[in-house]
């Protein structure tokens, strides 16, 4: 989303000047993410939900859980689908209509980060093998844009899934039927955390805000799991990273990711 706004040249040169001194315009250090606020259960009627504010970027994720048909070659696994959409009031340049490549990439990267970590134990979400399974839909909507939608959406979806409760269904007369009082937390195995880093000149910065996003040459999003393993990665933008850059980014994603993981855990505990 580097085209979302034309940054004014003054700001861009200020950003670079400060980076040369090891500083950023909002006072953060290069590997410091913005203030993260996670509010669980923002949409009580959904099965799970979270409202996340990462600096001035705001995302709401709602999780809906309902019976569905399994994918053709995966009859013994539940379904997980993650989407992302920019609401038209999130920024003056957002247009209504079908999502463009930027938004499609956003949704797919967020989906992969959660899916590849095996966060949700899909084998526990089967109602009847090959016939009926539980579908978990995590839909992200961006409410306000100020850079780094990858992480904001990922945290919102992860927090919403962690706090989501799934009803229980049984097959009765060949139809999945709700079992009263059978609710339980969605079975999860790990907490994936994505960290997005931007490259401006020779500097790597964590969690670029809107102005930094418009100034950067390239970006990389790395998702780690609770064991500190890297499970998903995406490079974007029309610049390039050196080998050393990419190794450094991997290390940062583990280090900064573990701190964010604590916040996600706290948010879930706070809701119980």
């Amino acid at each position: 989303m580097t085209s979302i706004s034309i940054i004014d040249e003054l700001k861009k040169s200020q950003i670079l000047e400060l980076l040369e001194q090891g500083k950023r315009v909002d006072g953060r250090t290069l590997d410091e993410p913005r203030k993260l606020i996670i509010e669980i259960n923002a949409i009580p009627k959904a099965n799970g939900s979270a409202r996340v504010r990462l600096g001035d970027t705001e995302v709401i994720c709602g999780v809906k859980i309902q019976p569905d048909r399994p994918f053709p070659d995966m009859g013994d696994k539940g379904i997980f689908i993650c989407t992302a959409e920019l609401l038209p009031f999130s920024h003056s340049s957002v247009e209504t209509g079908p999502p463009g490549p930027d938004v499609v990439e956003l949704a797919r990267v967020v989906d992969r980060g959660i899916r590849e970590s095996h966060m949700i134990d899909l084998s526990q979400l089967v109602i009847q093998k090959n016939k009926s399974v539980v579908g978990v839909f995590a839909d992200n909507v961006v409410v306000d844009y100020d850079g780094n939608l990858f992480d904001a959406c990922a945290y919102a979806a992860t927090a919403a899934i962690l706090s989501a409760k799934t009803p229980k269904w049984e097959m009765r007369d060949d139809v999945p039927t709700l079992v009263e009082g059978g609710e339980s937390y969605v079975p999860t195995t790990t907490i994936p955390v994505s960290i997005t880093m931007g490259k401006i000149g020779n500097y790597i910065i964590v969690d670029p805000n809107g102005d930094e996003w418009a100034s950067m040459d390239a970006r990389i999003t790395i998702t780690t799991d609770s064991n500190g393993n890297i499970c998903a990665l995406q490079k974007g933008g029309n610049g390039g990273f050196t080998f050393d850059d990419v190794i450094k980014c991997g290390e940062i994603s583990v280090k900064v990711g573990s701190k964010i993981r604590e916040k996600l855990k706290q948010a879930k505990e706070g809701s119980q």
Partner: protein
């Protein structure tokens, strides 16, 4: 709107409705102005369990250019529900219902907004329903009005909205989801309080002429209650807590 299911007790022998309200009592309403950082104007409303966010941009350049009007600015409204806003997950693509409601809300706001001083521009109103529970179009219209004022769009009047209806043969104010499904009539009303004009009016159900009149009066009474909260929302943001 579903069938007429008489199993739900919509009104008990004490005149209390299924959610504990009296017949002329609206649900809990909360409105906040200026909640979004990037939009030119915005508002958030909670109307019972409805949660709706509205953002306004404009007046601004119109794209594509052929849609612009050389004599006046145009108003565009998009009412949209999030997939997680309703009981069964909704497809993100706009449904016919959303398209109709977008049009009806636009036509309810047009009598209020004054765009002749902004030719060749558009004012875009974006309504997003985060959680729905009956009466979203009234809540959305009320919030849209606040968002437009917050954006500084010149307006002849605010537009306040509330629905009235009929359940268990009684005219009730502010129909909730259950009453909408199982009741006998639902009439959303949008009203300009100073100019005393109705700008949104729809009806679903059967009413005698006397009930029809009572329903409109009840709805307007509800609109006036909503108007006070719209005023409160704008006063809180712009005038602080003190009087000048």
């Amino acid at each position: 709107m579903g069938g007429r299911d008489t199993a739900t007790v919509l009104l008990d022998e004490n005149g209390i409705r299924c959610d504990g309200r009296k017949v002329d009592e609206p649900r809990r309403i909360m409105i906040k102005a200026g909640v979004l950082k990037n939009a030119d104007g915005s508002a958030y409303i909670e109307f019972g369990d409805n949660k709706i966010l509205v953002g306004v941009f404009g007046p601004r350049d119109v794209h594509p250019k052929h849609m612009s009007n050389t004599d006046t600015g145009i108003l565009r409204v998009r009412y949209h529900m999030e997939p997680f806003s309703v009981t069964e997950r909704k497809n993100p693509a706009p449904s016919r219902r959303e398209i109709e409601i977008s049009k009806v809300i636009k036509e309810a706001l047009e009598p209020a907004v004054m765009l002749d001083k902004f030719p060749r521009t558009a004012v875009d109103v974006y309504i997003e329903v985060l959680q729905a529970d009956g009466g979203t179009r009234c809540a959305a219209l009320s919030a849209a009005s606040v968002a437009l004022a917050d954006a500084g769009i010149p307006m002849r009047d605010m537009v306040a909205a509330c629905a009235a209806g009929k359940a268990a043969d009684v005219i009730i104010l502010d129909v909730n989801n259950e009453e909408d499904q199982a009741g006998q009539a639902d009439m959303p009303i949008g009203y300009m309080p100073s100019l005393e004009k109705i700008t949104l009016l729809q009806l679903d159900g059967v009413l005698t002429p006397a009930e029809y009149k009572k329903c409109i009066e009840t709805g307007i009474h509800g609109c006036k209650i909503v108007y006070e909260l719209q005023k409160k929302a704008l006063t809180e943001k712009y005038f602080g807590n003190g009087e000048k």
